[in-house]
Structures are given as structure tokens and as C-alpha cells.
Symmetry: C2
Subunit: 337 residues, 2 copies
Amino acid sequence: MVVAVFLGLLGLGAARAQDSSPSSPIVMVVHGGAGTILKRNMTPELEASYQEKLSEGLLAGYRILAAGGSSVDAVVATIRIFEDSPLFNAGKGAVFTAEGKNELDASIMVGSTRQAGAVAGVTGIKNPITAARAVMEATPHVLLAGKGAELFAAEQGIELVDPSYFFTQRRWDALERAREAERVEVREAEPEKENPKGSGGAFGTVGALALDREGVLTAGTSTGGMTNKRHGRVGDSPIIGAGTYANEHCAASGTGHGEFFIRWAVSYDICARVELQGMAIDEAAELVINQELKQVGGSGGVIALDNKGNLSMPFNTEGMYRGYIRDNGKPVVQIYK
Amino acid sequence: MVVAVFLGLLGLGAARAQDSSPSSPIVMVVHGGAGTILKRNMTPELEASYQEKLSEGLLAGYRILAAGGSSVDAVVATIRIFEDSPLFNAGKGAVFTAEGKNELDASIMVGSTRQAGAVAGVTGIKNPITAARAVMEATPHVLLAGKGAELFAAEQGIELVDPSYFFTQRRWDALERAREAERVEVREAEPEKENPKGSGGAFGTVGALALDREGVLTAGTSTGGMTNKRHGRVGDSPIIGAGTYANEHCAASGTGHGEFFIRWAVSYDICARVELQGMAIDEAAELVINQELKQVGGSGGVIALDNKGNLSMPFNTEGMYRGYIRDNGKPVVQIYK
């Protein structure tokens, strides 16, 4: 017993030394949304596009980490690549609200300091993740919403675009289909059924986690929300604890039916189980996604990463765009179950 | 050892039966904000006003619970009384933003179902807690912000007021003082120093928790935010997990420097420690407020209540308007340390 405790203390000491030494393993994990993503509905060309873009994002973050850069730089660089692509429901490819507009949300959190920043409901910021970072670094606040967030971004010299920048035919068609479905049957949104082609995933939020050489974890998430959502609806992506969380032990980013992610405080809950219960990251993430959320009908998935580089990418939908990259610099990308 | 485990199981069984039976104890707990509240700065008349209003709120919720009503009805009734009073930084008494406006936030969560609703940045809704409840009950969403929330409230027939309704001389003077302080020294907001008279508390958010005869917990929070805050800043009050949380085990509502409450996911963290670590509610709440938050400079307090009726009201500031009422119907109200 005494020996076990002694070894335990030694182990703890060794792990801590490794976490904060420049020899911490480097890892990036990303997701590009979860939903009804089925191979039979996917063309080889579209599949290849997703794989290439996910790899490109992973490599952008990896290059920063490999050069000794920070996890926050890596997360922002990776998410900007996804935001600039029409493939994902974030930035350029954001879905339309019920009013035919694009309202974007993003958040970021650095685990070592628990600093965090977020924007919600912005309509003219090209890269919401960059605005979220600026909120974190240049204000005493965590979350700025709507017009106030836009004014702040303008003050900070962050790139603004005309709202028409976010128009894509594919997302407009998805809104038309959702409106048609509402006319057929007035009901609560059933996001999994909104996009029968399965090509984009109804929950195409993007997220990235990074662990840098200093052992610092960062988590970030960016989204265009839910097709046909009510004006002003804020999902889980800009909510610290729901869509995004990072502390010294763990980082997590979610994608799915945001209201469930808020009510179950999903990202923080995974980290709480790691920190307070000593669960392995994979055990905690699986339990939250495939038991807690699944049994109440909360569709979606998460990526989670601990401070030793262990990662988990569970989802309870048909598929989730996801991938990771480690010290060897080889991106691993997956789409289906 | 076997005996202890056996007794433990018996205890658990008895507690569960009690929780769900109509004989659950009834409890209301409230706060009216934490901050630099010092007896030497308070007039006897103002002190009596706070005590009377806190008692009035407690009794309003109590009457509903005693008649077999739900904890959600009790929480809303209590918070509406605080929102209608100019004494608290919520509803009528909301503080002014840097632009001289009033932007209000509120949220509510029912523990048994984890249903939740919230509004953020609303300027013309008389009782934001009622709008938060309507979001919970009449939409598939959790959080509506800004204009979208106002439009929804109008659709629901919720009472609207001209923004001038929220003008109070006392809050305007507080804004003038904060602006003057900024002119003297450009620095990050130090909310505890914004209100040197100590009469209102810089963090005058209000909150209420209730446990009803069915054993259902509900938590609610309402605020006018932070004096001189940036337009669009959203604090912890409308954030499920940060300012408000409730599940089957625990309910919590916070008041304080909101950004810390978001970054530490304070309300959910207390409930996670109760649920995942088996901590007593008082131990969990004290640890989060007087250790975790205090050591990083996160000022404020919480009220927390478990499903057996145990409650906790810790704060790391000079004072917190707070109180509770139990089956005997006698309100207990406290202000100072």
C-alpha cells in the first residue's frame, strides 16, 4: 500500500514534468461536423474534398506546433482554413437562419490559464474564430454578441465582409428544403432530417484541439448554427462549457444538437469526469456521447484530448468528419463509423 | 465493512423514496447580489428595504410550494418580485452599459428534465425571467439573444416596456462614477470599486432556487449585467452551467464577476462535484467559491441546494444579499459576513 502510494506520487511527478517540459507530445484533433453522413450518399469527389480539407487544416496546425508554436495559434490557423471553405457549416459555408441570414458563432479557450473568448450571432466577420480570440486577448470579457461583437471586431481591425459573402447555393437549397418540410408538417426542428443528401451534415460545426510542446491545451469551435434556426438563437458553440472547454487536464469541442450540449454542459462534463473522477479521456467522452446524450436523444459528437496526448472522437450519429495528427506529421482523417 | 455498505444502501433507498414522494421538504433559496456590501455604508432604512424585499420574494415562492405548486412556478414568482424592485441589478434596477443602455439577461433550468431557457441582451422585456421560461417551454432552443429574443417575447404576449422604464437615477449615477474612474485611470473594470457607497453591490444579480413537494429542483437567475459594460457583453447569468444549473441532484445560481463564472463553469462545477464526487452541497459550493475562484481573483458568491433540501450560500466578497425559507414558512435573510 505504502509502495503503491509512493509509486503513484512518482508517477504523478513524472507526468507533470513531462507536461510542462518542451518535450510534451504535439497533437491536433479536428472535427468538421456530425450528422447523417452515409457513404452511399457521398460522391467520391466530395469525399476526397472533405479528406483534403481536413488534412490541410491538420497540417496547418501541425506546422505551428512542430515549430514550437502555441496551441492557441495552431487552433486558430486550423479553424480559419475550415471557415474559409464552403464545405463546413462555419464561416463561408454557414447555413441560413429562418430569415434567410447567416448568424455565426465561435469560441476559444486556453487550458493553462482558462482564458476564453467567444462571439455569437455575428453576420459580417469573415473568421469568427479570430474575433473570439480577440475577445479573449483584448477585453476583460468572454462573450460578445451581435452588433457589439461586430463593432469590437471593426475596432480590432479584424477582416469584415458583406453578409452576402456567406451566400452559397447549397446552404440556400437546404433552407428551402427545411422551409418546405415545415410547410408539410409543423414540428420541432429535426436537424438530422434536414439534409437528406447527407453531404454536409446537418451539424457541420467545426472544431480543433491542440496540445503544444509546452503541454498547453487549447480548444476552439466555430459554426453557422442550425439551418432554419430562429433569429437570435444561440447554440452551444460560443458557450464555454457546452461547445468548447479547456483546462490543464483536458480540452473538448462538440458538434451536434446544440441545445442538448448546453443542457448537459457536454464539453465541461467530459473534462470534469477526467479531472474529478480520474476517468480516461476516451471513457469520459464515450460515456457522455454514447450513454448520457444518446439516451435523451441528443445527437452529435465530440473531440477530446488530454494533457498527455490521449484523444477521443466519439459520435452517436451516422458519421462525423474528424481527424488527428501527431508528432510524426501524418494526418489521419475519418468520416464514417 | 459489509454492514456499512448495507446501511449505505438503505440510506440511499430511503433518500430516493423521499425525493420523489409528495413529502419532499420544500425549500426556497435566493440571492440579490454579492459585492462590497458593508454595514458602515448602509442606512438602516436601506437595509430594512432589502430585508423586506428578500422576505417578500421568499414568501411568494414559498406560498406556491406550500400549496403543492412546482419549483419552476416558485422560482419565476420570486425572481419577478426582485425584477420589479429598483433595489437589485435585474429588471427595473438594471445597471447601464457603457453606451447608457440597459441590456438584461436571464435563465432558468428545471433539474428533473434538464430543460432550460435563457435570454441575453434584451432591452424592452419587463421580466426577463418570464421570457427565459417561455424560451424553455415554447421553443426547441435554450438561448435567444438580442432582437430575436425581443421578437419572440412579443409573439408570446410577454409584457414589453419602453427602454426608459429601466432608468433609475441611482444606476445612472453609478455609470457616471464608472466613466469618471475610467477617465482618471484607463484600466480593466474592477467592479468591486465601481460602487463605493456599497449600497447596491456591483454584482447585484438576483437568483432563486426551489425544491418542490415532488422533489424537483429549479434554478433561475436574472441580471442587468455590469455597470459600464461593453455593448453586447454577455455575462454568466444567461449561460447554463455558468450562472445557472439544475439537475436531479443539485441546483445553483451565481452572482459575481461573470467572466470567472463562465471560465470555471461555476454552477455546473458545483453540481458535478455533488454528482460525480459525492461531495456535500456545502463542501462543493465552499470549495468552488472560497478556494477555486478566490485564488484566481474571481469575486462573487452562489446559492446551491440539493435534492434533500440541504443548502449553501458561500461568497468571497464583503457581503451577499441572501436568504432561504423552509417548511416552517419563516424567511431567514442575511446581508453581511
